[in-house]
Amino acid sequence: MLHRLNRAGGVTRRTLLQGASAVAASGLILPAGMRAAAAEPRRGGILRVAMGHGNTGDSLDPATWDNAYVQVLSSAIHNYLTEIDTDGSLIPEIAESWEPSSDATEWTFVIRDGVTFHSGKTVTAEDVAASIDYHRGEDSTSAAKPIVEAITDIRVDGNTVIFTLEAGNADFPFIMSDYHLPIMPSSDGRIDPTSADGCGGYVLDHFEPGVEARLTRNPDYWKTHRAHFDGLVLMPIIDAAARQNALITGEVDVIDRVDTSTVHLLERAGIRIISVPGTQHYTFVMDSRADPFTDNNVRLALKYAVDRQDMVDKILSGFGVPGNDHPIGRSNRFHADELEQREFDPERARHHLREAGLDELRVSLSASDAAFGGAVDAAVLFAETAAQAGITIDVVREPSDGYWSNVWMVKPFVASYWGGRPTEDWMFSTGYAAGAPWNDGFWEHERFNELLVAARSELDEERRREMYEEMQRIVRDEGSTVIPMFANYVMAVSDAVATPDEIGANWTMDGFRAPERWWFA
């Protein structure tokens, strides 16, 4: 019902809010993947997953989760207040329904009844409050601190939790689906962050960081049509070739981060490739405060000097789509479909250079495969095409180790990536709002920032769309980020694994939920 509304042309805020409560009230919570899947999911089997992330330093503490391995693990152990469905819409999870105040500064979440943790304890509103509270405050060491900073107060009232925000935010329920914010058991208003107790579909039996995690199905799971496997083995296999070999030789059933340059060979071996276009995008970001990037003509010249299709073909082996220099993906609600796709045009690049009063341009571009797989190659390709426009790009390969602390937001022109965010507001306010900690282009645009605030609390769907489309245009034409490509999430599965027809695009592994949504045929 919700997804149908959404497909029909996007939900208004009001239908979204009401819809959520309505679905919950009528008890019609359809598990994602059920609706279009021809085959009925079957229970059974142990799913073995090899991921291209994870290391010996991983921990169960949600404040530290920083890679897809722990994120998939946590989504198997835990539930969240809300969940992003496969079509990108928001559906209830531990929150049965939610309701904003009229100015969207106060949000009331009704906590679902009768859900228990693996330990047997019932999930209460206090647990929810403590779980979110853990990431806030002066002494918070959580990576999620910036995303919960707008919460000024958390209050428990019976079986509801009430969040008060600094300013109205129509998309707040989306934020509550963030992977850092699982619902964990509390005592005296605090959670034990190292505990493995959760209310998700699988119980953690054994966890050795960097080696494996073994889980068994939660027999008391409240979702009756989810979590089909009897058990789960999650292991990190960092080396791409080793990961592929494990799948080919039948040691595992699913791998993520498939090396796209050898996909054609993998397919030959009778392996099914799952490729999902999402919001994940790769960027070359310029420090708009540093010369020569202060001049928008220079930034435009660089934007016209990228051959996007060539990059998608060579770096992603076609598993992606060209970017249009703004961070909103095609699966987003308010993606500006009418905005003209920017093409490789060395003549226009030269034109903008002349406008900037330059005959030629020489810049250094810092890249590392820590930014994204193939970043260095992509930078080399960029340098090749830019040369045709009289721009010399010196590619500097930085060490992967320490890339985010020593290069990103330090050097003036660097490769980076965004996992993407489920809503326009979330994406723009994290990476493009003036003064945002991750505004990696140090970019400030008056009109853009006005629109951002206005759109956040705008009620009218059409007005909101117009605003977001204008913002996409501004970022595309005046922003300080070259966004050459959106990369698909590419996974490979053995023929024993069955998946729903539609697969979540918000993160890899079906929005981290593959253990819940997939099954053995």
Partner: protein, 341 residues
């Protein structure tokens, strides 16, 4: 560098080698002195590694937060873990703990004791090293002796070229080739991860490919050294004498040349065994084998200093002990060293 290819020198006597004391007692004194020296080496290594990790850009707080680091959260983590203390204070805190047998707690893994994290992996590392050595050392000695016996024959040249060819491929590449040939056809598993509670047979089977890779990697060096050490002796007068007496070439080598070649051979074996323990991170990665090397590299990336320190100490201790063993064997094998003038 990646593979240690030292031509091993004759054992270097430790400072102040005791003179005038005969036999085994002399060996014990040497062992004692070398162990004391080894402890000093470990201390300096810990100091060096600590200094190096201090110089690395970024610290644990920044590494763990990655792209999500903000100044406040970084400061909060540093406060919580005591990383805001000056480096000397942290080092001596750590050293004090180690002297009492406490290797501290990992910064990254939710405060797990380091000893806990290392235990299993140390076992895995030693198992793989022992496995590879059990295949490589006899193979290298036999091939080396035969090559010396039939020097300049087709066998000598072929085994020499094959060994050289094998070591001139990068390790991970040798591993990939073996996976292609032996794992994809289903003979052996491509992942060496051993399930808990597996028996010895199962463990040997699962770890076969990494052990074979390492065997190919270290055999050449030991074989060439064995051959060279023996041939080196063949020109000496007493060998000439034995040959003139009509001894068979095989007997000459086994009875007269080999005993005197034990010192350099023991040295090269020790160095290669140290390599099997300390240098195999690449093979661990390719075969998904949970050993110490991977823990070390991960911990360096995370700036998890207590773990880095502990693993570095284990590696250094392995090196010191194996070299000591080689020197003891050399001394015992050589009457002139055993009974110094």
């Amino acid at each position: 560098m990646v593979r240690v290819v030292d031509t091993p020198p004759a054992p270097t006597p430790a400072p102040g080698t005791p003179k005038g004391r005969p036999g085994i007692a002399h060996v014990w004194i040497m062992v004692g002195q070398r162990l004391a020296l080894g402890l000093l080496t470990l201390f300096v290594v810990s100091l060096l590694i600590f200094g190096a990790t201090e110089l690395l850009p970024g610290d644990f707080a920044e590494a763990v937060l990655g792209q999500a680091a903000t100044p406040e959260t970084v400061a909060a983590i540093r406060r919580e873990l005591g990383l805001d203390q000056p480096a000397p204070v942290r080092y001596f805190d750590w050293l004090g703990g180690v002297l009492q047998g406490d290797f501290g707690r990992s910064l990254a893994s939710g405060n797990r004791p380091v000893a806990d994290m290392i235990g299993n992996r140390l076992g895995n590392t030693l198992f793989l090293a022992g496995y590879a050595a059990a295949m490589a050392v006899p193979l290298a000695l036999i091939l080396g002796i035969l090559a010396a016996l039939w020097r300049n024959s087709v066998f000598d040249r072929a085994s020499n070229s094959a060994a050289l060819g094998a070591i001139s491929f990068p390790e991970f590449f040798v591993a990939y080739i073996l996976i292609f040939l032996l794992a994809q056809s289903g003979y052996f598993p491509s992942m060496a991860r051993v399930p808990a509670g597996a028996d010895l047979g199962e463990r040997l089977y699962r770890a076969f490919l990494p052990a074979l890779t390492l065997t190919l990697v270290v055999t050449a060096h030991m074989m060439r050294m064995t051959r060279a050490a023996i041939i080196n002796l063949l020109a000496s007068p007493y060998i000439e004498m034995a040959r003139l007496k009509g001894m068979s070439p095989m007997r000459v080598i086994l009875r007269h040349a080999l005993p005197n070649a034990i010192a350099p051979i023991a040295n090269v074996v020790a160095i290669n065994m140290a390599y099997l323990i300390t240098g195999v991170v690449v093979v661990e990665v390719v075969f998904v084998y949970p050993g110490l090397g991977q823990l070390m590299v991960d911990s360096v990336a995370r700036r998890d200093i207590p773990v880095v320190q502990a693993v570095a100490l284990i590696f250094a201790a392995a090196y010191v002990l194996l070299n000591l063993a080689a020197d003891v064997i050399s001394t015992l094998s050589n009457p002139r060293l055993l009974y110094p003038r």
